[in-house]
């Protein structure tokens, strides 16, 4: 069971009709519903990472998302806690070109540091086994 308020402690009647909020001018995203845990693909459509978390920052009195995070932050979303800032792998929001069923980037994944494990395995293991760099037949 996930945490919840007990029935008697709920401050408001559950079936109350609430007013419609002021309609904002731009695209509306609910982070969990539309952004978190979605696949990030690069400009060619190759998978880069999953949006494991999002970094927010205060700018001119507004709080905005600056980077998508991936890697060790996943473990802390599962088990709780918070990884040290030095271990966040970031993809800057300015690379994002589209948020739909996937999050699309305008750059090649190769240029991003989130892919270091993939690159390491390619250089040191998979690429060295005969046939590793050939198309399947």
């Amino acid at each position: 069971m996930s945490p919840r308020l007990r029935r008697g402690e709920r401050p408001f009647p559950p079936d109350e009709r609430l007013p419609e909020p002021p309609r904002p001018a731009g695209l509306v995203l609910d982070a969990r519903l539309h952004l978190l845990d979605r696949q990030v693909v690069d400009v060619r459509g190759d998978p880069v990472a999953i949006v494991d978390d999002v970094e927010l920052e205060e700018r001119d009195g507004r709080v905005v998302a600056t980077d998508l995070l991936s890697g060790p932050v996943l473990a802390t979303r599962v088990f709780g806690g918070r990884p040290p800032r030095s271990r966040w792998h970031r993809v800057a929001w300015r690379h994002v070109t589209e948020v739909g069923v996937v999050v699309r980037l305008g750059v090649r994944g190769e240029t991003l540091d989130v892919l270091w494990v993939e690159r390491w395995l390619r250089e040191h293991v998979v690429g060295r086994v005969p046939g590793g760099r050939h198309d399947p037949e």
Binding site: M1, P3, R4, L5, R6, E9
Partner: protein
């Protein structure tokens, strides 16, 4: 103010589980002194069933080889599997600790399974062309072993 699952409920669930477990244990013992007999008899009949199944496999393989319907590797592999089964049956029989009045039945069960093992090894030698004899003789030996196994099984079921 918030509950992760109130301790009261956890305790209740634990208590319920324990209770069910206890009832199961007591229920299991409710047969009284005869329960040990029953369990030994059950172990032994299960082992005899396994041996009976293996002997039937042997009979079928001999028939298939005799009518040239199977290959030597398949026949050999099948008999080896059957031999593993009688081996395991004999192990379970030896391992059981039946009460006094079932000791005689256990001895006969071990004999029957030993006969089955011998008949199956003969069949395997014959299949691999390492022994003479006819399919008829082998079938006879296997059938006798099957009868012996069945007889002990019937006795055990009557006694239990």
């Amino acid at each position: 103010m918030t509950t992760r699952r109130s301790p009261g409920r956890v305790a209740a669930a634990l208590a319920a589980t324990l209770l069910v477990g206890l009832v199961g244990l007591v229920g299991g013992c409710a047969y009284g002194p005869s329960s040990a007999d029953t369990s030994a008899a059950l172990t032994m009949t299960a082992a005899l069933d396994e041996a009976a199944s293996a002997v039937e496999v042997g009979l079928l393989v001999v028939e298939l080889v005799d009518t040239d319907r199977t290959t030597t590797p398949v026949a050999d592999g099948t008999l080896r599997d059957a031999l593993l089964e009688v081996g395991s049956a004999s192990g379970s029989l030896a391992d059981a600790l039946p009460p006094r009045h079932l000791q005689d039945a256990r001895a006969r069960a071990l004999d029957a399974v030993a006969d089955a093992t011998a008949a199956l090894t003969d069949a395997r030698a014959w299949v691999n062309d390492l022994a003479g004899g006819s399919a008829h003789d082998l079938t006879g030996a296997l059938s006798d072993a099957a009868d012996a196994v069945d007889a002990v099984t019937a006795d055990l079921e009557a006694a239990a």
